[in-house]
Symmetry: C2
Subunit: 387 residues, 2 copies
Amino acid sequence: MSEVKIGILGMGNMGSGHAKNILESNATGAVLAAVCDERVERLKWVKETFGEKIQLFSSVEDFFANANVDGVIIATPHFNHPKLAIKAFERGLHVLCEKPAGVYTKDVRQMNEAAKKSGKVFSMMFNQRTNPLYQKVRELILSGELGDIKRTNWIITDWYRSQSYYNSGGWRATWAGEGGGVMINQSPHQLDLWQWTTGLMPKRVRAFCGFGKYHDIEVEDDVTAYVEYENGATGLFITSTGETPGTNRFEITGDRGKIVVEDNKLTFWKLLQSERQFNREYQGGFGEPECWKIDIPVKGEGTHHLGILNNWVDAILNGIELLAPGEEGINSLAITNAVYLSSWTDNWVEMPIDEDLYYQKLQEKIKESTFVKPEIEIKTLNMSVTF
Amino acid sequence: MSEVKIGILGMGNMGSGHAKNILESNATGAVLAAVCDERVERLKWVKETFGEKIQLFSSVEDFFANANVDGVIIATPHFNHPKLAIKAFERGLHVLCEKPAGVYTKDVRQMNEAAKKSGKVFSMMFNQRTNPLYQKVRELILSGELGDIKRTNWIITDWYRSQSYYNSGGWRATWAGEGGGVMINQSPHQLDLWQWTTGLMPKRVRAFCGFGKYHDIEVEDDVTAYVEYENGATGLFITSTGETPGTNRFEITGDRGKIVVEDNKLTFWKLLQSERQFNREYQGGFGEPECWKIDIPVKGEGTHHLGILNNWVDAILNGIELLAPGEEGINSLAITNAVYLSSWTDNWVEMPIDEDLYYQKLQEKIKESTFVKPEIEIKTLNMSVTF
């Protein structure tokens, strides 16, 4: 096999971008072979833009029955990700899935099981994992350089959205349409990096969501999530679409220092001695271990969507390791689900969460939703400014 | 009246510093007239250091019966602050009280009532209020420049203490001796500034304390406190004595921008338009109001303890306004008490707190305490490095 014939499910903002990436990077062995979208005008756009050779499908059933592809990129609304991925695995296709993995973990777990059973190459579009900044953070932590983690603190409030953004699609920011707000739509990358860089998943979560706090929407646009980890460390994740200018500052403290990522810079305060050891041995009154403030050089640019695409194709063709294995998509989603559940129940949520309870609560939200937004057309919602 | 004869109660680290300040700043009209301490060696030190003229007392009763003073500085262990202040007010003396105001608000409320009744000049040693950085923050907020506050977030984790610090006094970090840990001992200044600069007191509190998490102590050395304000804003206060190097970063977001105080710098991101107005009026997809990043110059140095002392003396002699009115000491203490109560009950705490419940819970902690620390003498615990 020398090339991977790819079908794209969903030709919205993200799907269109992936189509362009495939065509502009043919060196990697990726070939755009088929596209599926219910909207005739999107298929027309594909034909006009990319030519006659690409197979066009207006129904998923037709696509899975007739498309001549080796793998699919799933770029449909969030709710459908797991169902479509499962169909693809059952047909023996490789899958690259847009974030989030899905809307509830019950569904995503089934997707992961189907992936495992199929033996196919499954990746998630966590393009921020290609960012050398966060790769370096992960390296500093997993190599032991930072020591045991004591606290994580991510303020990621630079996701400002105006009401007009939410009004640009009736499905936006509804329980039925997206299954959540800033946690599920804007923050999945940071939620992925939060646990990917640290290697830590929360043990329990206590979260405080503002639902429609800053916008005329029914889902959350403001979140403070406090978590506790198995090793005793604590963590905070703070996000919002109601603040501008926002902040993107990720601080991690450990037994051997502190890491801060802010303004695209990585600073590492390195202790020359373990704090725990210093604490035991020091006999003075005030004092602390010697500490060096180090500007860690971060070389190169992230390869973003194209990087993940190439990595997936490379894994299919040459068996190289995935940067963002699809099975790991459940982690950030599980945190998201736990945050909602904690806020709804005004209580602690232990992890792993009760998936059936979450599914049931979400169905109630969808059922109870009486939210109707004025749907205003914005001709082009330029997604190049976001992820 | 051209000078204020001052008596100092408690000649420990803080009291000794205040004595020096009085003597070194005689221009202000402050005169050190009397000192009270149970420890003979401390009185001996006063005599040797400051000469024969200063009246020396080894009991509070003797002091209040015989000291020829106009006002007192209270620098005893925390628990005694309100009791001693009440005695002083009853004797018609002015009071300058070390932070914290006390250990529980029930007591402190009585102190405030006694102060009011006496009509005497009552100030708290919130020396950080003399810091031009925080004065400027307060100005930006109270003048309306920042607009309605949306979120406050103070990471104040640079209070590192080793076990040897705690071992240096058997009373340190015990419920009976200090009535708390990092919240009551290290962070009162930031807890004061948190609400003084913003003009906001929490409406309810949900806090997560680690008791003896990093040290062999019974009180908290690690805190994450989430609060909600009357106007819907949220806030975080994160403090610890178990992390090094720590962080001191205070971020406040508002309808017209963002303030960050870090590394002794004040940065103001100023929106040229109210975000709330932009949100209503903007019709594009992605977009946000124009924002200017401004380095606010902060001139001068804080006058610290001496500044508060001079201000108090000046208020007594010339009736000028107090920078840190004593009655405001209850605010930071009320937050502290709410944080403990929330952590102990693992639940929300509404403010103002149930003072009787807090008092009762604290008595239980004191009673149940079986904590015995090895008392190790450190000859001089140099307090000049702290506040």
